[in-house]
């Protein structure tokens, strides 16, 4: 029996999530590198990479904002069944999912507090393409420079300017993921 809501979770949750987390950890600790991440399948328009990130990182303790680009009943039901994550407005979200345009404005999300900079949102940005070219990245995790086809540059420069506060990003396309923590400095490629 096929059921879009009940199906599509991780086949072997503990091991699949372990592989998925390592891909995400690798992506975030080495900005600009693109990793394979798969295992979960969510209803359209959610990519396999974004679906796998959600089931690996979200649970009933992490409010999730679903941006208009992804706000379908099928996807919401899938997320609820697979993770139990409550849905929230952007300002209360620990995670957010959507396309770059749909997630805007970035000012809506929590960037942490000076005492607790970890209390900041992580945005999962669905991308039409994901390539190691374009904007120039430097900072922690990057030996010299790295490249990533970011949707824009100014937003990430503004984000870096708030350091140690700020948002952290995963970019997803198909079954691939890249990461951009707030510590990365971004310039035009």
């Amino acid at each position: 029996m096929q059921n879009a809501v009940l199906d599509g979770g991780l086949a072997d949750p503990a091991r699949d999530a372990a592989f998925a987390f390592r891909a995400a950890l690798d992506a975030l600790s080495r900005p600009g590198t693109i990793r394979q991440i798969e295992g979960a399948t969510a209803p359209a328009p959610c990519s396999a990479a974004a679906a796998t990130l959600i089931v690996t990182l979200c649970d009933p303790t992490t409010p999730l904002y679903v941006a208009p680009s992804h706000d379908t009943e099928a996807l919401r039901d899938w997320i609820t069944f697979q993770t139990g994550a409550p849905f929230a407005a952007a300002k209360d979200a620990v995670f957010a999912i959507g396309t770059w345009d749909a997630l805007a404005p970035l000012g809506a999300y929590a960037v942490g507090t000076p005492a607790y900079p970890d209390r900041a949102a992580t945005l999962i940005v669905e991308m039409p393409t994901l390539d190691a070219e374009g904007a120039v990245l430097t900072g922690p995790g990057i030996k010299d420079t790295a490249h990533l086809n970011l949707p824009e540059v100014a937003a990430f420069q503004a984000n870096r300017a708030q350091f140690p506060l700020g948002l952290d990003f995963f970019f997803t396309c198909g079954a691939r993921v890249a990461g951009l923590p707030r510590s990365t400095r971004v310039t035009e490629g």
Partner: protein, 295 residues
Amino acid sequence: MTDQAYNFAYLDEQTKRMIRRAILKGVAVPGYQVPFASREMPMPYGWGTGGVQVSAACLTPDDTLKVIDQGADDTTNAVSIRKFFEKTAQVAVTEKTGEATVIQTRHRIPEETLTEDQILVYQVPIPEPLRFLEPSEVETRKMHSLEEYGLMYVKLYEDISRHGEIATAYAYPVRVEDRYVMDPSPIPKFDNPKMEGAALQLFGAGREQRIYAVPPYTKVVSLDFEDHPFDPSKAPHPCALCGAEDSYLDEVITDDQGGRMFVCSDTDFCGSRRAAGFTGEMSGAQDTHLGAVGE
């Protein structure tokens, strides 16, 4: 009870998700201590419960795990943690630094240069570098948020005024990416320069419930003064077994007559060198009575 009675890598999935989220935030803000809901582990606090939880959250079935305690693979703490993950995560284990993908360590960084494919997990007793200067968590948190690290420099200065040099020999404070002052865990200051490297470094403090991280190629500067620069000193001896001049040495008392020897703290490094034919002044000593050599 069969080994399969445990979830993969012991912890339940919700706990691992919580730890994983803390690790990711730690990576995003290098050197900042992320609070996490540390669990009770089947070993006492002080035996590396923080490191074990970080390792459990990171391990995949494909990993090869190495565990060291003060550089040694064969001490009680290292053996028991290695066996723990062999049993609960069915991962491959090794004593070879070069073969490991995840290395959990207590108080040392391996001598062999780590690669991009490796994660170094530190066991941390007291994560807060300012704790012995300011007992209040509220205050130290404020000091970090305001980048108020003057007190740490005063402490190092008092070392100089009292001893003529910075006397802090281990857990030597570092500044990460020009922002957070961080406790590198009680590694000897000899190891501090190795923190700028290709491997991801994760720190877990179980009792104190903190996780922090140093991503690869992150700037890590040991605090010092212009006229008293940081000195990663070591005992002025070669290893008595393998002759290495550039490794961190343990002093081993060999008798009650003042006899002693200096040997590599990193057992894999020392063993590999000896297997490759390097010798030290006491290389043949294992066959005889050690005490006779120390005179």
